[in-house]
Structures are given as C-alpha cells and as structure tokens.
Amino acid sequence: MGKQDLPADVAKSSYNYPDALGHFGPYGGTFVAETLIAALDELRAAYESLKDDPAFRAEYEYELKHYVGRPSPVYHAKRLSEHCGGAQIYLKREDLNHTGAHKINNVIGQAMVAKHMGKPRVIAETGAGQHGVASATIAARLGMECVVYMGSEDVKRQAANVYRMKLLGATVVPVECGSKTLKDALNEAMRDWVTNVANTFYIIGTVAGPHPYPMMVRDFQKIIGEECLWQMPEMIQRQPDAVIACVGGGSNAMGIFYPYIPYPNVRLIGVEAGGHGLATGMHSASLTAGRPGVLHGNRTYLLQDENGQIIETHSVSAGLDYPGVGPEHAWLKDSGRAEYVAINDDEALAAFHRMCRTEGIIPALESSHAVAYAMKLAATMPKDAAILVNLSGRGDKDMHTVAEKSGIKF
C-alpha cells in the first residue's frame, strides 16, 4: 500500500454528511410540500432502522452477489491507455451487472426497504428507461406492482426500453406535462406518491430528491467504490491517482466517489454532459454551468433561467439529461473535494467508438462521457499514473442513437 492509503490518514477525514436533516453544507434538505412530509418521515424511520440491521445487510449482499453478479471486476484497458499515450486507464465494470448498469444496486436496496415497509406497489421515474427497467426487474423479482412514469417525449425516443418494462410486467405511464422529459416524470411520480402513499413506495433513480433519498441512494451505490478500494491494490498495489465518473443525477459518481472521499491523494472528477457545447446553452451541465436553487425537494445546482424557471437540457445520452444534480455533488464541488468538467456530445461519441474498437467493450453513452475525459486526462499524465473510470453501463440501449448519428437506419 502506498503512503496515501495509511488508515491513520483516512481516519482523520472529518467528512460526515448529510446532517440529521439531510443537509450537505447549504445543499440538500427537505424542500417539499407538507403533504409529503409524513411519507418522508416514514421512509426515513424505516431506512434508519434497516440500514445497519445485519439481516437486512445480509439479504442485500446476497442479492448483489447472486442476482446482480457482484463484485463487478476492475479491468485494465491496456490498448485504450496505449492509444492515449499516458496514464493507465482502469474500468470499473458496472456494465456487467444484471440489467446492464449501476442502477440496479440502488433499486434492489430500495425495493427491499419497500418490502420491509409492507408496500406492495412501487413507482419510479425514468428518462432513458434504465432506472425504469431496473425497477420493473426488481418488482418482478419480488412480486410487486410497478408503475413507471416517463416523459412522453422519452417514451417515443426509447421505445425498446418501454417494451422491456412491459415485458417485465410494469405499467408505463407517459407524462404529458412540462417539457415531457425526466424532470416532469419525477414531478408526476411525486404526485402519485403523495396520493397513494399508504400502499406505495417511490424508488428514486439517483442521488436527488428530498432527504433521505440522496443519502440512501448513495449508501446503496457506495458498494461500487468499496469494491474498488480492495480491487485497485490487488491490481496495482495502490489506489488510483484519479477516479472519474459521469454525472447525470450523480448516483454512479457518488457510488464510486464516496468511499474515496477520505483519500486526499485521489482526485475525484465528475463529468457532466456538455451537449452541443457549454457556450450554446444546449447542455446538461448543472454543476459546471448552473446556479444553486431548489428543485425536486432539495437545494442544489440547477439549470434555470434568470426568473428561476427550470430550463430544458440537451445531451446525446438520455441518462445525463437532467437539469439538477444530487446535492452531495454540489457540496463536493463547493468544498473543493471533487472537480466537475463537461464533455460534449461529439467527444463522448468519439470515446464510445474508440472504446468499442480498442477494448471490445460497448459502453453506455453516459459512461462514454467519463471515458472521454479520462482519455484527455491520461494523455497529460505519466505512464505509471492510474485513472479509474466508472463504466456505469453498457451501450446496447444506445445502438439506435449511435447508428442514427452515423447516418445508419436499421
């Protein structure tokens, strides 16, 4: 182990967020109407009593191992590293999970909480459909009713995932209000929840929403980074110099960052969707280009106009197309512990193709943003440096988008 990994160093870390009310510094919190407070209180109490319960932990770990296929490997992307000519790039293979992305880690945890709370019905919001598919999957696995809210624009764009959810027995409800995308699906799921809270559990798909969601989703995703903490030394006898993840709502990034927060020598870098370029205004880079505000139950960085209205976002990857970001990232940014950058559509697509050709791995377009930045950064670092990239998902779902960009029709 390198010097940076001495447990004494690590133990010195004073990072202890959120506070009892769900605040990460000035961010997070519980910004919801009074009608939702009781539901959140009930959830918080249930989660508090379960999260350290050995039987619950054992059940969760059993599912992760036997159903999801964890631990996911860390893989040395040698040819990609050689291509970049600098640091060695390692991939945390969340793409190999059941359902093809990190989303399932969180969904299993929340569905188990729902089961313990005696709620037979789960609801979820989805943009690209990945979280919806994961929710439908677990609902089928546990014999629960599942309703997925999806903006009607996204229903059109993601027909294959809509069909997947239906195959798994879920009901997909197209949302017609607002911009008819992910943020509106989240609004509608909240409205369902407040109306049907007696029998319904709301599975939020990322580290956003009111307390306790950002904390709970992070806790269910931190398995990603915890595995890396022992996998990296196994592979290279030390921790990496940088950890890179794409940031939509921020769950795969929080999952791999969180266990590394106490390691001062490990840079944490979140990559947002730069869309057509930050200067065009057509992007989803809330941390890089947004301002703090209140949306979906928490205070965080938002893409908004001068009047505080939430604006539409753009990204080639539907999973990054969200005008907010988890409040813990807002705090990691302000406190300087993590850095946030943006990668444009074109750069992400180039990285997607490069990864396919050099490693035989088809990455999700979301994850391709992280890969693209890792490639840039690697080129500036020495050959014995190590970059760990969270490969949050596989790209099967993106075949249509990528083919279309290349002018190919199926």
Binding site: L21, F31, I37, A38, G178, N187, I311
Partner: protein
C-alpha cells in the same frame, strides 16, 4: 395588525367565513390578471391567493399545472406578478393578497429583493409550497420583517409536533390541505376535515383556511361550517380554461359569486 389579520377578525366578529379564491397570475393572459382580481373581489372574495407560475409545480394537479404553463408561455415572472399586485393596489387597498408559489423563483430573485419588492407592492402574505417550516426559518424572519405574513400548509398527515411548529413560525392564517394528494383532486371528506379543524385551530392559534378539492357551493358551505376560510383554486381555473377570453371575467365572477352566496346562506340558516 396585518391586513390579513384584520380582515379575518372582522369577518369573525360578523360571523362570516373568508372566501379565498386562487388564480395563477398571467393565466389566461397577463392583461387579465388585475381585472380578474377585481372581479374576484366584486364576487365576494375576502383574500386573494395569487399563484406565481413555476415550471415544476410538484404539489399541483393537472389543472393548476396547465395554468402555470399558460402563464409561463406568456413570459410571466415573479417580478411581473409583483407588478400586478402593485397595479391592483392602486384601486384596492382593502383586500389582502397572498403570493403562493414555489421556492426557486424567489431564490433566483433573491430573498431580500423579493421581500422588499413584494412588500412595497402591497403584498400581505407569502405561501411557499416547498418551504416547510424546518427549511424556512431565515426566510420567514425576513418576510415578517418586511411586514408580511408567512402562511404554511398543514396536511391531514401532519403530526401534532409539526402543527405546533407551524403555529410558532406561521402567521395570518393556516392553510389546511383537506385531502391526501395534489391540488384539484376530487375526494374530499368533509366530516374528516371537520373532525381535525378544532384541534388544529387550538394548536396553532391562527384562523384555519381549508383548500384542495373544494369544487362548488355545497362543499364550500359544508367546510365553512367548520373552518375560518375556504380556498378554491382548481375549479376557478377550470372555468378560466373553458371560457372564451372575453367571457372569463363574467364567468369567474358568476362562479365565485355563487359560492359566496352558498357560504353566506349557511350563515343565514344557522
């Protein structure tokens, strides 16, 4: 005494209940907002709740969502809503106006700038749907120091502890949400509301207005038997939505006037 408190106390002494209509500023068109406010007063409104449109009205049902979208399509902003209050005040100095909306437009304007401008325009109260008491101590203090009331929601699921917390931080009146769900839902249980209100009034020491799900004279009359005021929103917005623009004022006036009559006839008959 604030304009809200004095209106509510004079109603109480005359044995009448407050009729509190809600409309979204800028819907169906910004030019109709101030005329609509005057029409509401002529129809018998005691307090006006003026909705500030927001792109993501999470606590609202489809009717109020649509009204918000119509207003935003016409470029209505928090500043223009405040300007409408100011214009209304030129010819009405008696009817309290409460701005009701979501936190983000206020935070984008800046809490200080908002409190000063809203107060200067003649706003009497502020209800921020997604500022529960635990997240709004500084905000409430700032709004109160600008001379306005801070109004909070209480839900059927609110615990006694929370109700007392609202009583400590809120002023003017309390807005009791009469059902589980979003605005405009249609499953109001009058007897359940009647059962809760006396305890709530006692715990908060403020008048209690009831809203969400009130659609007609009969439900308004039933609730005014137990509450201090009745808030009607989605039903009025439906009327606005279904009227040609040149009939909006007359039809809203007829609707609200009918509800006023129904509420007062209860008082006459008891």
């Amino acid at each position: 005494m604030s304009r809200i408190a004095s209106v509510l106390s004079s109603l109480e002494s005359s044995g009448r209940k407050a009729l509190i209509p809600f409309v979204t500023a800028g819907d169906p068109d910004p030019s109709l907002t101030v005329p609509l406010m005057h029409a509401l007063v002529e129809a018998g409104a005691d307090i006006i709740e003026l909705g500030v449109p927001f792109s993501d009205p999470m606590a609202d049902g489809p009717t109020i969502q649509r009204s918000s979208e119509r207003a935003l399509a016409r470029k209505v902003s928090l500043r223009s809503v405040i300007a409408a209050v100011s214009e209304f005040r030129r010819s009405n100095t008696g009817t309290p106006v409460v701005l009701m909306g979501y936190a983000n437009p206020i935070e984008a304007m800046g809490v200080d700038a908002f409190a000063d401008a809203a107060s200067a325009a003649g706003t009497d109260g502020v209800l921020v749907v997604d500022y529960p008491p635990e997240e709004s101590h500084d905000f409430a203090a700032r709004v109160r120091s600008a001379g306005m009331d801070v109004i909070f929601l209480i839900a059927p699921t609110s615990t006694e502890t929370r109700i007392r917390a609202v009583g400590e931080i809120g002023s003017g009146y309390i807005y009791y949400v009469s059902l589980k769900g979003v605005t405009g839902a249609g499953h109001l249980d009058v007897s359940e509301v009647a059962r809760r209100i006396p305890d709530i009034r006692k715990a908060v020491g403020l008048p209690v207005g009831v809203g969400f799900g009130i659609r007609d004279g009969a439900s308004a009359r039933a609730l005014s038997a137990v509450a201090d005021g009745v808030v009607i929103g989605s039903r009025i917005i439906e009327e606005i939505e279904n009227s040609p623009q040149d009939e909006v004022l007359a039809r809203v006036k007829a609707l609200v006037g009918g509800i006023r009559q129904a509420m007062d006839s209860r008082e006459a008959s008891t």
